[in-house]
């Protein structure tokens, strides 16, 4: 069937903030969908709360709602826009769940909105594990034995039937959150209770454990003519029991015979047909018993997924784009294959390389969490690597992770397990962890047999033997010298994926020397093409990967080329925001006549869509790999300032004349403590007092000079890694010891080649200061554009990435803002910035201190762009290649910021639900995974929306429990006063209650200390009894698990909104005040950018609304 003409407008639901289990792959898929639907002439209405996405760029949809992804809000959007259809299969689990909610509540039917892609019945069958299993049995497929339970008793009786060990999963949850294994009755109680609590419908599925079986996924597509294709098969290196999102996976599947593969393929299509996915992409997961080949179906997702993003990048077959086309009526055979141009999309890609995906975790941010991998996903990002063989792609993948590893071995960290006996190490390897791959390598290097390791870990012997070939290669290379290696030897080494860095380590020679000897032997990287067809047809998309073969397929370009270095794997502190900047750079430079060359290794992103840039190189971001690309492309320059810290670190290692924008020397100057201090002194810009220390004595000397509290951190880290606030000498001693300990391999060193000899930085910690972020751009003529001044909600001390902030500033006085803008301009000039600059300030009693400056695009650039309507990243990219702001203004790229009365609030989204052991407090170390934006006509409304979008529904009424540290008590008074006036019941712990009362706030309920002998309820009891609707608790400094930690943990478990700073409490109170007096409204960002006047605020009749409905 051709394009449907009976529908005109389509609502696309995005996936909201980046969280563990749902990352920027849905920006990639959603962006493709919006582009396709617009190109097909539909009116596209988009809802997504995440401002850092490409899909929420105002030109990607006709109406873009950056509003909370929540049923009541979407209902308003639907009533306002009246779309004909909703496409929910491209917005992850969030989009799917929302569509189901809207369908179940009758909203879709009432508004005449059709669900396209997958209908409600299909979604229900796939998502309800019990229904799904019945359906599978019906079509003759095997599934693990199982049962559902809605209580602990039911859980026990199911286990009597299926037997321990079991895997327990909450119903209706993404990324395996809340899933766990239970091998004993005690574990059963624990995991079942957690699962029941986590499921939005209070239901768990209990299933026979088949941990240790081989795990596979097939990415399949179906059109409405029932044509089905497998786009890609994926095999997990880690067996069943480790979530696929946490597994090293390989495409295509490697250890299935054709007979077994075709059986799986038939089953996958059977699943699709039975579940009833009318059109689009789905993924079906299978397990295979290694000894018998028995196949069982694990689950299917009736939507595009993280794996489909991976499959798209792995094959060149754009699943999301196809899914969007199929949803509006096209058939696979009616859609051309972009890459060949001549063949149709109704085929199955043939792959002539091996793709390896490796997850990246951030356990070091949550020290309390055990680094054990299981059925619940914990990784925050991933890399993908392409090689002609598994060995090559594995080593490329490992060095793409940027965790200090140069490959599988042959680097300083390869000796990390030298102190462990074989038996101890094998015991460690039995338990899945991020380090298992290296543990296995070490055991192989010591001669432990492949079969022993396979039996202990469930890793297929094929993968182990491939790893063994790397290990053997390493052992053979050790004794030889680079000069003695002949051409054939060199070729073999490079084909095993060894980097020059690994060889340099092995031979104890400088890397450039190794490279030179290699090149002299004629061994250089060749680039092959990802073409969907294994070379059978000519490819028209230059999507390349490096390998060591005879010939190269790079075709010389015609226009000047610019290489844009991406940001690598997502991690806390460096995520989608930087990809957004890189994508914008590519778009802007393409428009300006350059040929853009993207280099990145993150399969989730829009930047690694072969459509985004003129050329795409799927490569690790290391000096060697980037140099290979530069040699192949001969660009006029390289952009290092938009991909976060990753490319910035490479700046100094690339030819200086190729660095576009700010010079490597200036980048260094901003990073170098002494240089930066001198610069600030010269400019007479105040900084917090500080100093550097190599040991405890020096540290004491610094604090003696600057006083406590002080902030201590290792130099050259990102995201506030390992930063601590110390209040006295004892704290200082403890922290200094901890910082030194992080120098051990494996711990902090994971962050990358962190020079542990670098000193520790100590600054006076500015208490109760307001933190401010500024994004600016300076051109080579010296004009500075202030993109946005952002006032943080939380005080300085909460990492800028974890705090809420608003544009425009809501409390800063105009003179203070002027000072900030002036400092920013002067810093930009002093650093001779040519491009983006981010400066952070702390304002204390109207005095402005600078905290740091980074001559690169910051995390806040996309938020600032969405809030102001100015395409900052595009402007920055153009400035970096030499345009002036004046020229860009004349050209129309640089527009004036939106003249509107709106306030935009960014809020961070934290992963504490994944790490229940960690205390949910904010500090100078960043721990958020994503962000949302709330936008409205008052700061309060925007704040409440931002909270809602981040998953915190502030209560409309009820009891608010206040328990704050002394320094926050004045803020508690302000918040308490407002909340009491709004009719909330105030409960408080003793100290806070006394303080509030003494300042005239009515406290209705006194809460006693946990474990105290006094009569009355303690906080945890109250929370667990459902008698508290919101908790404000700020930590009283480090220490043992004090009351506060218990209160926060209880709030987390009970799902009660929790605010951990006084400032956030005040913002929430003000927000609720606005919320109660104003009618909720949704508007598009296109409207805001055109200008929305404050007179559009609509008040309720009276000052207080009486219907009791909350946000």
């Amino acid at each position: 069937m051709p394009r449907r003409s009976d529908i005109e407008s389509i609502l696309v639901i995005g996936s909201g903030p980046i969280v563990i289990g749902q990352a920027c792959e849905f920006d990639y898929s959603g962006t493709q969908a919006c582009r396709v639907l617009s190109a097909e002439g539909y009116r596209v209405v988009l809802a997504n709360s995440n401002p850092a996405t490409i899909m929420t760029d105002p030109d990607l949809a006709d109406a873009t709602y950056v509003e909370p992804l929540e049923a009541s809000v979407l209902t308003r959007v639907i009533e306002r826009e009246r779309p004909d259809a909703v496409l929910a299969t491209l917005g992850g689990q969030t989009g799917l769940n929302l569509a189901m909610e809207l369908w179940e509540s009758g909203t879709l039917t009432a508004n005449g909105v059709e669900l396209i892609g997958a209908d409600a019945a299909a979604i229900a069958t796939a998502e309800n594990r019990e229904l799904f299993k019945q359906a599978m049995i019906e079509i003759g497929l095997e599934v693990p034995r199982s049962g559902t339970a809605r209580s602990l008793e039911e859980a026990r009786s199911v286990v009597e039937r299926v037997g321990l060990p079991v895997i327990i999963r909450p119903a209706y949850i993404l990324g395996g959150s809340g899933a766990g294994m239970a091998a004993t009755a005690e574990e059963l109680n624990e995991v079942a209770a957690a699962g029941l609590a986590a499921s939005p419908i209070g239901e768990i599925l209990i299933e026979e454990s088949i941990a240790g079986w081989k795990e596979y996924e097939l990415e399949v597509m179906r059109d409405d003519r029932d044509n089905c294709v497998v786009v890609c098969s994926i095999e997990n290196v880690d067996p069943m029991g480790v979530h696929t999102g946490d597994s090293i996976t390989v495409a295509p599947a490697q250890t299935l015979t054709d007979v077994e593969y075709q059986q799986m393929r038939d089953a996958a299509f059977g699943v699709l047909r039975r579940v009833g996915v009318a059109t689009g992409g789905s993924n079906v997961q299978f397990a295979v018993e290694p000894g018998t080949g028995r196949q069982v179906v694990i689950e299917m997702n009736p939507r595009v997924s993280r794996s489909s993003a991976l499959a798209s990048k792995a094959t060149g077959f754009p699943i999301a784009k196809m899914a969007a086309k199929l949803a509006v009526g096209y058939r696979l055979d009616e859609i051309p294959n972009d890459i060949t141009g001549v063949t149709p999309a109704s085929f199955e890609p043939a792959i002539d390389y091996v793709v390896t995906k490796i997850p990246r975790w951030t356990f070091e941010k949550f020290p309390a969490a055990s680094e054990t991998l299981g059925p619940s996903m914990q990784s925050v990002g991933e890399v993908m690597a392409i090689g002609r063989t598994f060995a090559e792609s594995l080593q490329k993948g490992l060095r793409s992770l940027e965790q200090g590893r140069l490959g599988l071995n042959a680097d300083p960290a390869e000796s990390a397990y030298d102190h462990l006996s074989d038996r101890h190490l094998l015991d460690r390897a039995r338990i899945a962890s991020p380090d298992r791959i290296f543990q296995l390598e070490t055991l192989l290097r010591r001669g432990v047999a492949v079969d022993t390791l396979a039996a202990a870990t469930g890793t297929d012997p094929w993968f182990l033997d491939q790893m063994l070939s790397i290990t053997e290669g390493r052992l053979e290379l050790g004794p030889v010298s680079p000069e003695s290696l002949d051409r054939r030897g060199w070729r073999r080494v490079k084909r095993l994926g060894f980097s020059d860095g690994q060889l340099a380590h092995l031979w104890d020679r400088p890397e450039p020397e190794v490279r030179a000897i290699r090149l002299a032997q004629g061994i250089r990287a060749t680039f092959k093409t990802v073409d969907t067809c294994a070379g059978e047809f000519e490819a028209h998309t230059p999507y390349h990967y490096s390998t060591y073969e005879d010939t190269d397929e790079v075709v010389p370009g015609h226009r000047p080329r610019v290489v844009i270095l991406g940001s690598g794997p997502n991690r806390i502190g460096q995520g989608i925001e930087f990809d957004y900047c890189c994508v914008h750079a590519s778009l802007a430079l393409r428009d300006a006549g350059y040929e853009t060359v993207m280099v990145n290794c993150n399969p989730e992103t829009v930047s690694t869509d072969y459509d985004t840039s003129d050329r795409l190189y799927f490569e690790p971001l290391t000096p060697e790999d980037v140099t290979n690309v530069i040699e192949a492309e001969k660009p006029v320059g390289v952009i290092v300032a938009l991909g976060g810290q990753t490319p910035l670190r490479l700046a100094g290692l690339l030819p200086p004349h190729l660095i576009l924008g700010t010079s490597a020397a200036s980048i260094d100057l901003a990073e170098d403590r002494q240089g930066w201090n001198n610069l600030c002194a010269r400019l007479e810009i105040p900084q917090p007092a500080g100093g550097v220390a190599a040991d405890l004595d020096q540290a004491r000397a610094v604090t003696a000079r600057i006083g406590y509290p002080a902030l201590v951190r290792p130099s050259y880290v990102l995201g506030g890694r390992a930063m601590e606030i110390v209040y006295d000498d004892a704290d200082l001693a403890a922290v200094m010891k901890a910082v030194k300990a992080t120098a051990e391999p494996g711990a902090l060193a994971r962050e990358g080649p962190l020079a542990t000899e670098r000193p520790v930085l100590i600054d006076r910690f500015l208490e109760d200061a307001t933190e401010v972020d500024v994004d600016a751009i300076r051109d080579h003529r010296g004009e500075v554009l202030i993109g946005a001044v952002m006032e943080h909600v939380e005080e300085a001390g909460v990492h800028s990435g974890d705090s809420a902030c608003s544009i425009p500033p809501t409390n800063l006085s105009p003179p203070t803002v002027a000072v900030i803008e002036d400092y920013t301009s002067r810093i930009a000039a002093a650093l001779d910035v040519r491009g983006p600059l981010n400066v952070q300030y702390a304002v204390k009693r109207s005095q402005v201190f600078t905290l740091e400056a980074n001559p690169r695009a910051s995390r806040t650039v996309p938020f600032a762009a969405k809030a102001t309507g100015v395409p900052l990243a595009k402007v920055a990219a153009r400035v970096m290649v030499g345009a002036t702001l004046a020229e860009l203004r004349a050209e129309g790229l640089l527009n004036r910021p939106a003249l509107s009365d709106h306030v935009a609030v960014k809020e961070a989204v934290l992963p504490f639900d994944r790490f229940p052991e960690a205390d949910a407090v904010l500090g100078p170390e960043m721990r958020s995974t994503g962000e949302v934006m709330g936008i409205d006509l008052t700061a309060g409304l925007a704040f409440v929306k931002a909270q809602l979008a981040a998953g915190t529904r502030l209560p409309a009424e009820g009891t608010v429990l206040l328990s704050l540290a002394n320094r926050d008590k004045p803020l508690a008074v302000e918040a308490g006063r407002i909340l009491a006036s709004l009719g909330y019941v105030i409960a408080a712990t003793a100290g806070t209650a006394a303080y509030l009362r003494s300042h005239g706030v009515v406290v209705t309920q006194d809460v006693v200390k946990i474990g105290a002998d006094e009569p009355g309820h303690h906080a945890v009891d109250l929370i667990e009894a459902g008698q508290v609707q919101m908790v404000v608790n700020s930590p009283k400094g480090p220490g043992p698990r004090a009351d506060g930690a218990h209160i926060r943990a209880a709030a987390g478990r009970a799902g009660v909104p929790l605010l951990t700073t006084g400032a956030a409490a005040v913002a929430a109170a003000k927000g609720l005040r606005d919320w109660k007096t104003h009618r909720p409204a949704v508007r598009t960002i296109q409207e805001y950018h055109r200008g929305v006047h404050a007179n559009q605020l609509r008040l309720f009749g009276g000052p207080n609304r009486s219907d009791g409905s909350g946000p």
Binding site: D226, P252, R265, W462, A534
Partner: protein
């Protein structure tokens, strides 16, 4: 690890470096073709249709699952040699009984590994499949050998692979006579579900075949040039007059020739498990398993309805014969290796046979 250096040289002088695997050889020659299948190397290597050919795999890792007694498509491999990027040393699969290397040695099939097979694929894509030679001989000797190799056009390969004597397989209710032009085990298994199958040599006369009173006749797949497939072409007319006839791959080409159509040698053929074919009657697309270097010229066959077309290049993939209970397809509905999308054609054959057997249903 220290395998002997080997080279592959094509008839046009293109040289590829690698190392010797499988049975040792100084120089082996054949027509070099590439296949894009990602699973089923054992099936490919043992497919009689590859007689006279050296098969290069685009998938880089070959041998991962070893080999097993069940998956071979014939009693022994028929290709002349195997080209791979990487030969698995340690296979892993529950059914594996032998490494691929051991299997190749045992059957005397030489191979070459470590080759930039993508370069080879792209070269054949541009220049067409051509003779080649590989082994441990020097480049000049290999080039000379490659040049003197006749390739497959105009060569009778069927007689090398067809059965010497008739034999019977299968337990299905019907009776099928299968002309063995290079038939595959998987095809016999499929047919055996429908019928008791008598497999006859390619030069069996129609009279002898019909004397077995079959409910249907299958003309199998096989290697090489259909114009050199032998006497079978002259027998088709009689067979068509007597009852249902189904042609597969080479059988499809042979039927087309018998009906007055034309065949031609393709540039590099179709060898893979991912070829989209559209059923022109319904619009449905099936992903097919294919292995052929010759094809039937679309529009050249009188008295047929063209039923299937390749969506990649528009080539003819199937037809039904007017006035006869007969159809033919260019691809492999039996799969092995490859997708099962075309299994419906066996039901189709079954239907033809039961309709023919039951005059009241006509």
């Amino acid at each position: 690890m220290n395998a002997a250096t080997a080279r592959l040289v094509l008839a046009d002088g293109e040289v590829f470096e690698g190392e010797a695997i499988g049975a040792s050889t100084v120089a082996v020659t054949g027509e070099v073709v590439f296949t894009t299948v990602m699973s089923g190397y054992q099936e490919v290597i043992t497919d009689p249709s590859h007689a006279g050919q050296i098969v290069s795999f685009t998938a880089p890792h070959i041998g991962n699952c070893g080999t097993n007694p069940a998956d071979s498509q014939a009693a022994r491999p028929h290709c002349r040699g195997v080209i791979v990027r990487d030969l698995t040393r340690r296979p892993s699969n529950w059914r594996s009984t032998e490494t691929l290397d051991g299997f190749l040695r045992r059957h005397g099939v030489p191979g070459i590994a470590g080759v930039d097979t993508r370069r080879l694929t792209r070269h054949i894509r541009e220049e067409g499949s051509m003779p080649g030679a590989f082994g441990t001989a020097d480049t000049a000797a290999l080039e000379a050998a490659a040049r003197s190799e006749p390739g497959t056009a105009g060569v009778d390969l069927v007689s090398q692979v067809t059965t010497a004597e008739p034999y019977t397989v299968g337990t299905g209710p019907g009776r099928i006579v299968a002309y063995d032009l290079g038939i595959k085990t998987t095809m016999l298994r499929r047919l055996g579900e429908l019928a008791t199958v008598t497999v006859v040599p390619a030069d069996t006369s129609a009279a002898d075949a019909l004397a077995l009173e079959p409910d249907g006749v299958l003309i199998s797949n096989g290697p090489g040039d259909p114009t050199r497939a032998g006497g079978i072409i002259g027998e088709i007319d009689t067979l068509l007059g007597a009852g249902p006839v189904v042609g597969i791959c080479l059988g499809h080409q042979v039927m087309a020739l018998a009906l007055g159509g034309r065949t031609y040698k393709m540039k590099f053929g179709h060898h893979g498990g991912n070829v989209p074919v559209q059923d022109l009657r319904t619009g449905a697309v099936e992903i097919t398993s294919q292995n052929h270097n010759f094809a039937v010229e679309a529009g050249s066959v009188p008295g047929v309805t063209e039923t299937h077309r390749c969506l990649n290049d528009g080539s003819l993939e199937g037809f039904t014969v007017h006035g006869a209970a007969a159809f033919a397809v260019q691809y492999h509905p039996e799969a092995g290796p490859g997708p099962h999308d075309s299994h419906y054609l066996f039901a189709e054959m079954d239907r033809l046979m039961s309709t023919a057997a039951d005059p009241s249903a006509r």
